[in-house]
């Protein structure tokens, strides 16, 4: 939560401008002026973490958006046309995406389109599609056999209308919970991509790149390497706990795929 509000505040204000470098003031330990010290280019780490939170959240959020936007309709279609060639094709397609080593594909995508936040979103988003498709299909199937759906069918509603009007609202809770999980995984994935230099590019701040930049400094100025790592850990931890809480709150019985 702290990081989310940090990210929100960063739109209006950060303690220091991270686009301005102050190399003589680099690698300072925490002081009153710089609460968490400065990094290797003399930038304020608090400001960097705030801006980095923005990047992480934006990338993970949009990647989840891709997953929901494409995965949920595919899952609904597959469930509505259960057992058909279409269902088979969608599910096989899912398996196929799962079969690809995700990081390798991310590297190839950035090799084709260049490194950057947008391509990180696409690379992470692609692997969210089968997750949502699978969860949606599984949950939707269990509703297709329920009485109220049968009633709707008898009333002559088309499968598309049933999917949208009756099934979607019923599986929404599940999707929200799955989203929080994919969101936290997205933050980890963004960090990993940025760490190997494939995520957001400077001057955009990114936790993964902060870690990569700081790793050789770990033995000189440990705080520079420690802070972004802890930021990732706490954010993901917070999101996962939030996901668990949501699940308990919304429906303690639902099952969520954690892959």
């Amino acid at each position: 939560m702290v990081f989310v509000s940090g990210a929100l505040i960063s739109f209006f204000w950060t303690p220091y401008n991270i686009e301005t470098l102050a190399i003589p003031q680099r690698l300072q330990t925490p002081t009153a002026a710089h609460w968490l010290g400065t990094d290797q280019l003399g930038r304020d780490i608090v400001s960097m973490i705030m801006m980095g939170a923005r990047t992480s959240i934006a990338v993970a959020l949009l990647a989840v958006g891709i997953g929901i936007g494409l995965g949920v309709p595919l899952g609904l279609i597959a469930a509505a046309r259960r057992g058909s060639m279409l269902d088979e094709a969608i599910m096989r397609g899912n398996d196929l995406i799962f079969a690809f080593p995700s990081l390798v594909i991310a590297i190839l995508i950035t090799a084709v389109f260049g490194a950057g936040a947008t391509n990180a979103i696409i690379a992470i988003g692609i692997f969210n599609i089968p997750v949502f498709a699978r969860v949606t299909r599984g949950a939707a199937l269990s509703f297709w056999s329920r009485d109220f759906i049968l009633a709707a069918r008898v009333a002559g509603k088309s499968p598309a209308r049933i999917s949208i009007e009756h099934i979607l609202p019923n599986i929404a809770n599940l999707l929200i919970v799955q989203s929080t999980i994919q969101f936290s995984l997205g933050i980890l994935a963004e960090a990993a991509l940025s760490y190997i230099g494939l995520g957001a590019q400077p001057p955009t701040a990114s936790w993964g790149r902060m870690l990569a930049d700081a790793q050789t400094l770990a033995s000189i100025a440990p705080h520079v390497a420690l802070v972004p790592g802890l930021a990732i850990v706490f954010t993901v931890l917070g999101l996962n706990l939030m996901g668990d809480g949501l699940r308990d709150l919304l429906d303690p019985r639902i099952r969520v795929a954690r892959t």
Partner: protein, 491 residues
Amino acid sequence: MNKLTTMMLAGSTAMLATGAFAQNTHINVAMQLEPPNLDPTGGAAQAIDSVVYSNIFEGLTRFMSDGSVVPGLAERWDISDDGLVYTFHLRSGVTFHDGTTMDAEDVKFSLDRARAEDSTNAQKGLFANITDVTVVDPLTVQVTLSVPTGSFLFNMAWGDAVIVGPESIGDAATHPVGTGAFVFQDWVQGDHINIARNANYWGTPAVLESVTFRFISDPTAAFAAMMAEDVDVFAGFPAPENVPQFEADPRFQVLIGNTEGETILAMNNGAEPFSNRLVRKAVAHAIDRQAIIDGAMYGMGTPIGTHFAPHNPDYIDLTGLSNYDPDLARQLLAEAGYPDGFDTVMTLPPPSYARRGGEIIAAQLREVGINAEIQNQEWAQWLEVTFRGHDYGLTIVSHTEPMDIGIYANPGYYFQYDNPEFQQVMDTLNQTTDPAARSALLKQAQTIIAEDYVNGYLFELTIPTIARAGIEGLWLNQPTAAIDMTAVSWP
């Protein structure tokens, strides 16, 4: 007493047999990049030369660490008065590692192969002026040139010009066979290459019995491996920020050597807005060299004001032409018709000098209103898009070839500088053999490109070699990519 000492010594030797023995005759050398293959005549990767130059393969002439060119497989040579015919007298009794004799036929084979139509030599230009190679007798070979080439002996010292045997060259990529003081042993791809002392070497044999080259690309891993003493030498240590820690540690010695790498902020002279000299001048004044050297290289690097190595006697310091002055830069931009600055693209190849330097330069350019969008490119991409495709505004790269100011005479080169005056100077230089006249021309050439602000001249790359204390005989400077182990020893 004497007997006792002998016994004690014998005992301790036996006890330490594996440890001490191995330590005194074996060295683990780490380098950042793994060579893609081991044929120096078929690829441009510097890592190939790092492993094989002088250790495994030798040429007619060779570089020493200070950059001088000395006899290699050619013991001596005569040059005809018109400078067109070089007669090389080869050393006798030289054999390749496979036992075959190295003679004039091999020299002819190697040179003809490198300049052939279907040659895949990455530096084919070195052989461009050769018109004929004739075997006079088994130890004498005559090379005829089309025009006098002052740099011919220098060219023949490159790793791309080594002498190879027709019997063994086919497998050189994976099993190099040369004439050097070390013999190739084995290569575990992705991890290490072993070489061992050549018992039949024609010259002074190597002190070490064996050397292992290991490949550690990650800077953190490099630091960890060195600190954990897993490796004894790290040639070209990738993280300058860690160098002070090694300097402070009595277990290590740090050698900071010169390279031939002029690191420049290249500007696309062939396209707007950098075709405008005022814009280029503005960029040159907008960048703060010292901040880049401190920020990206942690102080390692010598500022340069032109495209020339500062350790070269003909170098002139022209940094004053492009001192850091953001106000002047803004004023120049306004004069050039860009009062509000402009947007451009800065492509960055993988080395850390480029990635780190780029981040700092982009921030400095923002201060004067130039918004340079950073695009990281892998080497393959950089070569295609930036270097050959000329699709860029700014880029950072270190030109590591020795004496390469001639690239400014080629209007098709990636920064697309086209100045007949400069080209004239270079033409004259190539046909001049008088040292004083050559020196004057080189200085004139340096001044022209500095005053034209062709590129932003940043710094001369230095190469830190970290070694365990006491190891001797390592190269300090890098006139060419090489980790010459032939004279290296433990104390």
